[in-house]
């Protein structure tokens, strides 16, 4: 027993001594920046169920290589560190902590996914590390008051909802709107944006709201309800699986409203073909980025530049994949911010410059769309154009619509 007590005493003494010394924090200087380098971090799902998105992380890396080959930014090369999180929030937390605490990056950029970013949202803001241009459409990234270190990039669901509302107000004066939405944050975001966009007219115009759960087997009864409500405009806020059902069912029962399909489900291959191209004719959706398969862009300089970039820096990437256009465009936005920072690459200044983008044009966005941010507006892209499905492809038409700034 003597041996035991001695061990335990030793443990206790050691523990107490260590406790007393704890709590010391290192002083912060400009983390992740030297005279020749700026270190930035990223996570992407290179493996797992969402690995189709992984090409975004690779396209970002390819564009940064191009920037470095051309001399970097203000004499600094960008050291881009990207880790696989498999779209699993615990892995994202681990990898982002590794980036911030071990690799000591200046900031984290374009982390992908809504649940994954939710898991690190608080952490980034507690650590006061910029969490820039996250790759998700949720509206919560635009909350500068509570989360001053996090910023989105693509149009969020509310902004898109507002844009459909503006179109309806302008073009369908006698609109009676039926809404089908997924009963979660994503669906409610769209509906909120849509109602905000309609403003006072919302009460009068919306005649029926139907929701579904992702676990529902079908949404047939919701579609029947919407038809019998007499709606002549159908705002369809569904994920691909249910979008297919909704388009098919509406066609089968002979309901022919003005059908607004959220861009989440605008894929021709995944949604419209399975639903039937005939049934999908006349659908409307929104676009903000040039679709690389759309022939109208092929002769433009932006597309040619992008293609040259893909050939040289990311030859294994798929040139039909819009995600590669997306990654290219986000990287260009980032380069703009870093150039604006000049030699002051402190985290505060990076955030300041990211929050003061004025009318930035990014070549592969649709012509006329401009990026704007301010200290109270952390939603960079809030403009989109509508497109109509002609039975074969989406055809852009009309003006660029903008969500109203708050």
């Amino acid at each position: 027993m003597g041996l035991w007590t001695r061990y335990i005493a030793l443990l206790l003494v050691g523990g107490l001594a260590a406790l007393a010394g704890a709590g010391a924090a290192a002083a912060q200087t400009v983390v992740g920046v030297t005279a020749t380098e700026i270190k930035i971090g990223n996570t992407n799902p290179y493996s797992g169920p969402a690995s189709a998105y992984g090409t975004i992380g690779k396209a970002l890396g390819a564009y940064i290589k191009k920037v470095n080959d051309e001399g970097g930014i203000n004499g600094r090369k960008i050291n881009y560190i990207t880790y696989d999180d498999g779209y699993s929030p615990p892995k994202t937390v681990e990898m982002v902590r590794r980036l911030v605490e071990q690799d000591q990056v200046a900031f984290v950029f374009q982390t992908l996914g809504t649940p994954t970013n939710t898991a690190i949202h608080k952490y980034m803001n507690q650590q006061k590390v910029p969490h820039l241009f996250v790759a998700t459409g949720a509206t919560k990234w635009n909350d500068p008051k509570n989360f001053p270190w996090t910023m989105g990039w693509q149009p969020n669901y509310q902004a898109e909802g507002q844009i459909y509302a503006k179109y309806v107000l302008k073009n369908v004066p006698d609109a009676k709107v039926g809404i089908l939405y997924q009963n979660d944050d994503y669906g409610k975001d769209y509906v909120k944006g849509f109602k905000d966009g309609l403003g006072d007219a919302a009460k009068k115009m919306i005649v029926s709201e139907q929701s579904y759960e992702t676990t529902d087997p079908t949404i047939d009864s919701q579609i029947l309800n919407l038809k019998s409500s007499g709606a002549n405009v159908f705002f369809n806020v569904t994920i691909p699986k249910f979008a297919v059902q909704a388009i098919k069912k509406a066609h089968d029962i002979g309901w022919k409203p003005l059908h607004l399909l959220n861009s989440v489900s605008s894929s021709v291959g995944v949604v419209l073909k399975p639903a039937g191209l005939e049934a999908a004719k006349g659908l409307l959706t929104t676009y903000y980025i040039q679709d690389p398969t759309d022939p109208q862009w092929k002769n433009g300089q932006p597309y040619k530049d992008w293609l040259a970039f893909m050939k040289k820096y990311y030859p294994e990437g798929n040139i039909d994949d819009a995600f590669n256009v997306y990654g290219y465009s986000v990287a260009q936005t980032l380069v703009h911010v870093l150039k604006q920072c000049g030699n002051d690459l402190s985290r505060e200044n990076i955030m300041r410059k990211a929050a003061s983008i004025k009318d930035l044009t990014v070549p592969m966005l649709l012509p006329g769309i401009k990026i704007n941010t301010s200290p109270t507006d952390f939603a960079p892209i809030e403009q989109e154009q509508l497109a109509k499905f002609d039975g074969e492809r989406w055809v852009l038409f009309g003006e660029i619509y903008g969500a109203s700034k708050k």
Partner: protein, 352 residues
């Protein structure tokens, strides 16, 4: 395993020498006990001091190792000791995590209680699942538990009012109590370490005595066990419950450590990862849970550092290599090394 190796040796060398061999292995056990205790205490002391020598990020990783170790120990009781295969322990991990998250988020209950409740909920769910699963053997049980792993994430999404649906639930990390000057990471580590020690001691006590022998007997030959008076049905469902409870506690701790739960975290891949952990760590051993946890925590990341292009191919190759070099897991391998070392030390002392 000691005695089995001894028996094999005895059969080879002839019955006459058997007694001598048994006597020697007794001598080895006696001579090495202080060494074993010392090793254990050194490891414990190192674990207790760790927070003051590593960064917050590393500490977070080691907290995850401990959490995995608890889950692996639970699974090992069921699969390694009792011979019931589970491809669905990720589901219990998830149920534990959600129990904690919902209790904190909805009712603002102290996180310490929620860990206990997570264990209790999983004990009951595991026991109830174990009852009908009694009729299923081997592969069929594996399939039944697999279906559990598939179903549970969707069930979490379905009860959106409670679980927050696919958006999950965001929590805050618990702060150190009693005015201790510990960071959140350090406190979580100690909390997890304490839970790990308690649960390991309990498991060790359970498995080495009469109950443990009955559990193993059911695995080795359930008819013989029944004939010896072991209540197979009861034992199997209780082991299922206890195993689920361990995994549930691990899930609860992980919810606190990550401070976020989302349904798709607890997918089939997690269940398979846990199974990988017990096989690599050492099937049917207590210490194997720690080695397995170290493996599933660190090796995938190393694989990623070795090759960005094909980390899972590297991981797969490592798995095969481990299986080839250490067919009885890391625990079995270390045990073998230990026996070789101590046996030669003892025979030197005895002047043979």
């Amino acid at each position: 395993m000691d005695s089995r190796a001894g028996e094999a040796k005895a059969a080879k060398t002839g019955a006459g020498q058997a007694a001598a061999v048994v006597a020697q292995s007794h001598a080895t056990a006696l001579a090495t006990r202080p060494v074993g205790v010392t090793t254990l205490l050194v490891v414990l002391a190192a674990a207790a001091m760790l927070p003051f020598f590593v960064s917050g990020f590393r500490l977070f990783q080691f907290t995850q190792v401990l959490i995995y170790a608890i889950a692996l120990l639970g699974l090992n009781m069921l699969t390694g000791y009792n011979g019931q295969f589970s491809l669905g322990h990720g589901a219990f991990y998830g149920i534990g995590a959600y129990t904690t998250a919902i209790m904190i988020d909805r009712w603002d209950i102290g996180y310490g209680w929620t860990i206990l409740c997570a264990g209790m909920v999983c004990l009951v769910v595991g026991f109830l699942f174990g009852r009908p699963a009694l009729r299923l053997e081997g592969l069929y049980l594996a399939l039944a538990t697999f279906s559990l792993a598939l179903a549970v994430p969707q069930i979490f999404k379905y009860f959106e009012h409670w679980t927050g649906g696919s958006q999950g639930i965001v929590l805050s990390k618990p702060k150190a109590p009693f005015g201790l000057r510990l960071t959140e990471d350090q406190w979580l580590y100690y909390l997890t370490l304490a839970a790990t020690i308690v649960l390991f001691v309990l498991a060790w006590n359970l498995l080495r005595g009469r109950v443990g022998r009955a559990i193993v007997a059911i695995r080795d030959n359930h008819i013989a066990a029944e004939a010896m008076g072991v209540n197979n049905a009861l034992y199997k469902s209780v082991v299922f419950g206890v195993s689920a409870a361990y995994t549930g506690v691990a899930g609860a701790l992980s919810a606190l450590a990550i401070a976020f739960v989302a349904p798709d975290t607890f997918d089939v891949f997690l269940s398979i990862t846990l199974l990988t952990g017990i096989v690599i760590g050492g099937f049917g051993t207590v210490s194997g849970a720690i080695y397995g946890a170290l493996f599933i925590q660190f090796v995938p990341t190393w694989a990623q550092d070795i090759s960005k292009a094909a980390p899972w191919a590297i991981f797969g190759a490592l798995l095969i290599l481990f299986m080839y070099v250490m067919p009885r897991g890391i625990a079995g391998f270390l045990h073998l090394v230990w026996i070789r070392l101590t046996a030669s030390a003892v025979s030197r002392e005895q002047g043979r």
